[in-house]
């Protein structure tokens, strides 16, 4: 476990190395990046093997950093962070594999990519609010450049919107954190210290601070109605970046809600719970309905991400151990599935057909021209629908179970969301891949579509498919880590509404 901080350092080092390698050749840059990602993923897996689930949060490093403010460089891990760390490693590796075909300024691309990953690892490992915030914001700038430089549709607008929304969200979080620190006379910025300080603040202020911090994080998680940056940004982004952004970076927001907002201000959670839950279910259904009418294939996936994140937020809002465990599982599951979906749409389909308009794709019998992509997308689509056997199902099951205990109505609306998800996913599968059953068309009439499936695409797809299948059939691999962690002292405060 003690090796986990090296995941961060290795990623940043790899970023610098990729930049330098890129000056020599693109191939060198790619391999450097891949090796870095695999190495850091390997570190997380190695830690996972040696992990005994418990309710304790294991401190990895804790050294005083800025004593004037009581800030410590404090890294710690528990089951929840470990789940997300493994996800990050997987998504990063797959993302790099699916970006294998980037030719322009390859070194810079992977430098930004690995820097983003390093920042994400840092967020999941931070146990000091200041450090959390630092890593959270470090992740913003690479996002902008990845999209603005290598993106597609409307990339400058999409990049700026994404960056500004993220930054605005983090500004809200900063305001909230400083408020707790100052008004509560906290000794430092450790999560425990801030929690203790928060209790001393008046109830009205706690409610207000919670609104600030939760909203700030929820913006990044794509909560309705602050979600509009997500489809635009993810569509504009290059494939590897979309996979990472939708798959992992959106989870940073949800993780922030879970790790910072909820345990520090349980009184605030209690007050705002109905609002959050309603916004979450609204997001699930609304985003799903919007996805149903999209004409651009990638927009369907973009909106589906917002819809799935709605499930995560619903699970968090329900605020009981079952629902939150489901939310964390859904974070993992959706991370993998979003990666798969964007990979197929962006790398497999768009790079070959150069169109993402469903109307155009309908006329191509893609299931015959690209059988591998078709199979992968069908499986990914099934997983996205919550088909049992794949990771989405146990996640949605537990979220629904936990939500039902709090409010039948929310659970009911969420179930409707499942139906809507099935509808738009099936529509996308059907129109894009099986729209035409023209027997006469085969690979010879569309030579540009003959580009065979490359080994990076195959490897990446198999990794992701394997993950969703594994967790779908054996979700307790992750749940065994997650559930005990939900009994840590900080989380106990959430279940008991703040009594300490």
């Amino acid at each position: 476990m003690n090796l986990l901080p090296y995941a961060i350092y290795v990623s940043f080092a790899g970023a610098a190395l990729s930049l330098i390698a890129g000056m020599r050749s693109a191939t060198l840059a790619r391999w450097t990046a891949l090796l870095t990602a695999v190495a850091s993923w390997g570190i997380t897996l190695y830690a996972a093997c040696g992990f005994t689930p418990s309710s304790e949060v294991l401190t990895l490093i804790d050294i005083p950093w800025v004593s004037q403010l009581g800030i410590h460089y404090h890294l710690a891990a528990d089951g929840i962070s470990l789940t997300l760390l493994v996800l990050t490693g997987l998504a990063a590796t797959a993302g790099i594999l699916f970006s294998w075909n980037i030719e322009e300024r390859t070194g810079e691309f992977f430098a930004f990519y690995l820097a983003l990953i390093g920042g994400v690892y840092g967020v999941f490992l931070s146990a000091d609010a200041f450090l959390f915030f630092v890593f959270y914001e470090i992740a913003i700038v690479p996002k902008y450049f990845l999209i603005a430089n290598w993106g597609s549709t409307n990339r400058e607008y999409g990049a700026m919107k994404l960056a500004l929304y993220s930054f605005a969200g983090s500004a809200l979080v900063l305001a909230g954190l400083l408020w707790i620190y100052a008004t509560g006379h906290a000794e430092g910025f450790g999560l425990g210290q801030l929690a203790q300080a928060a209790v001393t603040i008046t109830h009205g202020q706690q409610v207000a601070i919670f609104a600030l911090i939760f909203t700030g994080f929820a913006v990044l998680a794509g909560m309705f109605p602050f979600h509009t940056w997500a489809p635009t940004g993810h569509v504009a982004a290059p494939t590897g970046a979309s996979m990472l952004l939708a798959g992992v970076v959106m989870k940073l927001g949800a993780y922030g809600c879970l790790r910072v907002a909820m345990p520090l201000l349980p009184a605030g959670l209690e007050f705002w719970q109905p609002v959050i839950a309603w916004l979450a279910v609204a997001g699930i259904v609304y985003a799903g309905l919007v996805a149903l009418v999209q004409q651009d294939f990638k927009f369907v996936i973009g909106y589906s991400s917002v819809s799935h994140m709605g499930f995560v937020l619903l699970g968090l809002a329900a605020a009981n151990p079952a629902a939150v465990a489901g939310a964390v599982l859904q974070m993992f599951s959706h991370g993998v599935i979003a990666g798969l979906l964007f990979a197929v749409v962006g790398r497999m389909v768009y790079e070959r057909t150069h169109t993402r308009q469903l109307e155009h794709l309908r006329r191509l019998p893609l299931h015959r021209l690209m059988p591998f992509a078709a199979v992968v997308f069908v499986i990914a689509g099934l997983a996205s629908m919550g088909m049992p056997g794949f990771s989405g199902f146990p996640a949605e099951l537990t979220i629904l179970s936990g939500t039902w205990q709090v409010s039948k109505v929310w659970a009911l609306v969420a179930a409707v969301g499942v139906l809507v998800a099935a509808a738009f996913t099936l529509r996308a599968i059907q129109v894009a891949f099986f729209g035409s059953t023209d027997e006469a068309t085969d690979v010879t009439t569309h030579p540009h579509l003959m580009a065979p499936v490359t080994w990076p695409e195959r490897t990446g797809a198999i990794l992701l498919l394997g993950a969703t299948l594994l967790i779908g059939l054996k979700p307790d691999l992750l749940l065994n880590w997650i559930v005990p962690s939900l009994q840590s002292p900080l989380m106990q405060a959430v279940w008991h509404g703040g009594v300490r």
């Binding site: 049992p388 056997g389 629904l400 039902w404 659970a411």
Partner: protein, 504 residues
């Protein structure tokens, strides 16, 4: 049989077959088809083995396999066989190979067809054998995937819309079933059907869950199952789906998949929610009756033969539901009538599976011989051109009609006898449907097979050996079960008696 996991084999061998075929991209078409058939027949073989070792008198589950699976969610891999599941396994073992044989001449991508079919067969068997919601739901939902592709890729002109509608309706219902079981889990911390049924029997469920919540859960499960059977008014997906699907898929859909819904009612809804079912019975009886009557009358109005049989399917399966709802609504006082109704329902499930799939096969033959036509008025005098076909098709038709001496009669008779003893007016209304069924089937018989020869009929070839082979088992059983229903009833009679005795 403890060392050899019989039930797991039954479920997994078709899937293994699918995997094997998937890994043989360049195999010859004939080899692919034969292999698929063999894997499909494994179900029948293993089903017979199970029957041989089955003890009907023991009303619990036999050959059970239970392994802890997901500890955190208290999910176990739990399979079990009782009389109800056994007859359905046997039915699958008969219908599935027949459907494969019916698809012997599929030209377009036969390997994929066989893979999807075997996958579908395995999933259906899983539904009939799983006893914990988690694996059961996996099979339930996964069965939709191959069905979707079978309809869409090999179906008729409107197949896309039909397939889409079919899947969306079913998933829509399942979403609520999922929610219902999530709610049950929240209160009871178990997904196991046996455990939940025991809790319901002893009144434990009512203590843990409020009455309103329990009603909501009941409705969720009801919705999920109702779409599948289908129960009026959730049936609108069926005619298009059955009509557009290729022959083999239609046979399987009507023969097996509709039984998955009825099975669900018997295995899940009734044991877990007896009180709620009892309370809702009057409404449900009306709905089932609507399916019975309207299905038959709608069939009368069709000119597309496939749609006609599709509506007739709604009618026949609704009989099973009518029986069940009548029994559930009646209470303990009428054990004998309930027993009859339930026996009839089970028999009807099996018999309808045979006769409907045979009918779809016959229509498929008509369609393929005539270059795609299957209208009621497109033919005439087929009897003279293909006498054997007419004969065998006639047997299937009369079986569906419920002619005494053929298998269809026994089931319907028992159902009517039971329902008449429980809800007389419903039985009376149901007889209307009998007339309608007789009318349209006889119309079919007359217009297509008798009368002057229609255009193109003269060149209608009679049945080939393969086609006879496909039909033969079903037809033989139609006769056998017509005169000796005891063959089947012996499997489930103690079970039905036990059910009737434990009525609330």
């Amino acid at each position: 049989m403890s060392s050899f996991s019989l039930l797991t084999s039954i479920v997994s061998i078709p899937w293994l077959g699918a995997l094997m075929l998937a890994s043989m991209p360049r195999a010859h078409v004939k080899i692919v088809r034969v292999l698929a058939l063999l894997y499909s027949l494994s179900t029948l073989a293993l089903g017979l083995v199970a029957w041989a070792n089955f003890n009907p008198a023991a009303t619990g589950f036999q050959f059970t396999e239970q392994h802890a699976w997901i500890g955190v969610l208290n999910v176990s891999y739990h399979l079990g066989l009782d009389g109800l599941s056994l007859i359905l396994v046997l039915l699958t073992g008969l219908v599935a190979p027949a459907a494969l044989l019916a698809s012997w001449k599929v030209e377009r991508d036969p390997r994929l067809f066989c893979i999807l079919f075997l996958f579908l067969q395995g999933a259906a068997l899983g539904v009939f054998l799983a006893l914990d919601f988690f694996p059961w739901f996996i099979f339930w939902e996964l069965s939709l995937v191959p069905a979707f592709f079978l309809i869409k890729l090999w179906g008729g002109p409107d197949a896309t819309r039909a397939a889409y509608q079919f899947v969306i309706y079913t998933i829509g219902g399942s979403a609520f079933m999922l929610l219902a079981f999530a709610a049950l889990f929240a209160a009871t911390r178990t997904f196991d059907f046996v455990a939940l049924a025991a809790a319901a029997q002893s009144g434990g469920l009512a203590t843990k869950i409020s009455a309103r919540a329990l009603t909501a859960i009941f409705l969720g499960v009801l919705l999920g199952l109702a779409v599948k059977v289908p129960l009026f008014p959730f049936h609108t997906w069926l005619p298009s789906a059955y009509a557009e699907a290729p022959t083999g898929a239609s046979m399987f859909l009507t023969g097996i998949m509709s039984k998955m819904g009825v099975y669900g009612f018997l295995r899940i809804l009734w044991p877990l929610f007896p009180a709620q079912l009892h309370a809702a019975a009057p409404v449900l009886i009306v709905l089932a009756l609507a399916g019975v009557v309207l299905g038959a009358f709608a069939a009368m109005a069709q000119t597309d033969l496939k749609r006609m049989v599709a509506y007739s399917s709604i009618n026949h399966v609704s009989y099973c539901l009518l029986a069940l709802f009548a029994v559930a609504g009646a209470g303990a006082a009428h054990a004998a009538a309930s027993g009859a109704a339930l026996s009839g329902a089970l028999l009807q499930m099996f018999n309808h599976g045979l006769s409907a799939s045979a009918l779809f096969f016959c229509i498929g033959i008509i369609e393929s011989r005539s270059g795609g036509k299957r209208g009621l008025n497109d033919f005439g005098g087929l009897r003279t051109a293909a006498p054997m076909f007419a004969g065998l098709c006639g047997i299937a038709m009369f079986s569906s009609l419920g002619l005494p001496g053929l298998n269809g009669f026994v089931g319907e008779f028992l159902i009517f006898r039971g329902v008449f003893g429980l809800v007389p007016w419903a039985a009376a209304v149901g007889t209307l449907a009998l007339f309608a069924t007789a009318y349209f089937l006889l119309t079919f018989w007359q217009r297509v097979f008798h009368g002057p020869q229609g255009p193109g009929v003269a060149s209608f070839r009679d049945l080939s050996g393969l086609e006879i082979l496909t039909l033969a088992p079903a037809l033989v059983l139609m006769f056998v079960l017509g005169v000796w229903p005891q063959l089947l009833v012996s499997i489930f009679n103690p079970l039905v008696t036990a059910w009737a005795a434990h009525l609330p």
